[in-house]
């Protein structure tokens, strides 16, 4: 998979490395900015209040 991506990147090794780095950073950005904030409330790690089990209804 990654080998396939690497082979299809243009340019020489340095250009490929640079593009890869940019791609990795873009993925990390999307994860931190959109995916994780969306996923976090769905996971049961960070509920701090006492309630009557209505949290899911919120």
């Amino acid at each position: 998979m990654y080998g396939w991506i690497w082979r299809h990147l243009p340019g020489n090794t340095w250009v490929k490395a640079l593009i890869s780095l940019v791609l990795v950073l873009a993925v990390v950005f999307v994860l931190f900015q959109y995916v994780f904030p969306w996923a976090e409330p769905l996971l049961p790690f960070n509920d701090v209040t006492v309630d009557q089990g209505m949290a899911a209804v919120r």
């Binding site: 994780f36 049961p44 960070n46 701090v48 006492v50 209505m54 919120r58």
Partner: protein, 246 residues
């Protein structure tokens, strides 16, 4: 077992490069699978970094900004005279020396959109909190144990007798911890009662209740700390903190 025999038959009758190509495509499938698993592992690692570090960065930034705003409001002379309590920006700051985390802005509500900004929230449901200035009642607060500012991370450092100080525009409310419940069900809303019986009290008074999740990094249970008002102090011109905070 007969299936193997069939396979052998097929392989034998196939062109000689067929098995090698098949082996290669199987290897390719496994290598993609392996890369996907590695990727999943890295994403989970990033999620941990996000939860325990990045949300703190964001929340502290948001809380600092809002805290500054509240302080600015307090400093500005109110043009309309004593208006009604402005609960939008926050009603004051919680200082808990034992938690060693400075001041925590307190806002109305305990929804995640509020608590995620690195503040403590006072309950509006299931049971509405009293406010510190009320004659009797229970001032009930929640904040994150980890991530999003982790304002109550060190709640387990609180011992009986430790001060919890709440600062409003014109008053310091000095509470003393008198009871700790280090693990209770997340459905135990009785801890928020006006007179929290589980803390051993039976008469109305001016109480404060801190709630957060426990054990750290999970939310299986809730950790509760109760305090009772010891005294109040007027805020002077220099906002000199009470002796507990000096």
């Amino acid at each position: 077992m007969t299936a193997t025999g069939h396979d052998e038959d097929i392989e034998r009758s196939a062109p000689p490069n067929r098995p090698r190509r098949m082996r290669r495509s199987v290897a390719a499938v496994f290598s993609v699978l392996g890369e996907l698993l590695i990727t999943a592992g890295l994403i989970l690692g990033l999620f941990v970094a996000y939860s325990l570090w990045w949300t703190n960065v964001l929340a502290d930034r948001a809380a600092d900004k809002q805290g500054d705003e509240v302080r600015r409001h307090w400093a500005a002379p109110s043009p309309k005279g004593p208006g009604k309590l402005d609960t939008k920006d926050g009603i004051g700051f919680l200082h808990v020396p034992a938690m060693k985390n400075g001041e925590v802005l307190v806002k109305k509500g305990t929804g995640s959109e509020i608590l995620n900004e690195g503040v403590a929230g006072y309950y509006t449901k299931p049971l509405a909190s009293a406010l510190p200035q009320d004659k009797k009642g229970n001032f009930t607060l929640a904040a994150h144990r980890d991530g999003h500012g982790a304002k109550f991370h060190n709640i387990d450092k609180l011992r009986e007798g430790d001060p919890i100080v709440f600062e409003t525009k014109d008053t310091w409310y000095v509470y003393k911890v008198y009871a700790v419940l280090d693990q209770t069900s997340k459905y135990n809303v009785d801890v928020l009662d006006r007179v929290p019986k589980e803390s051993g009290k039976h008469q109305a008074g001016r109480y404060i209740t801190l709630t957060t999740c426990t054990p750290v990094y999970t939310s299986n249970f809730r950790y509760i700390v109760w305090g009772e008002l010891d005294r109040t102090e007027k805020v002077d011109a220099d906002r000199t903190p009470p002796k507990e905070l000096r």
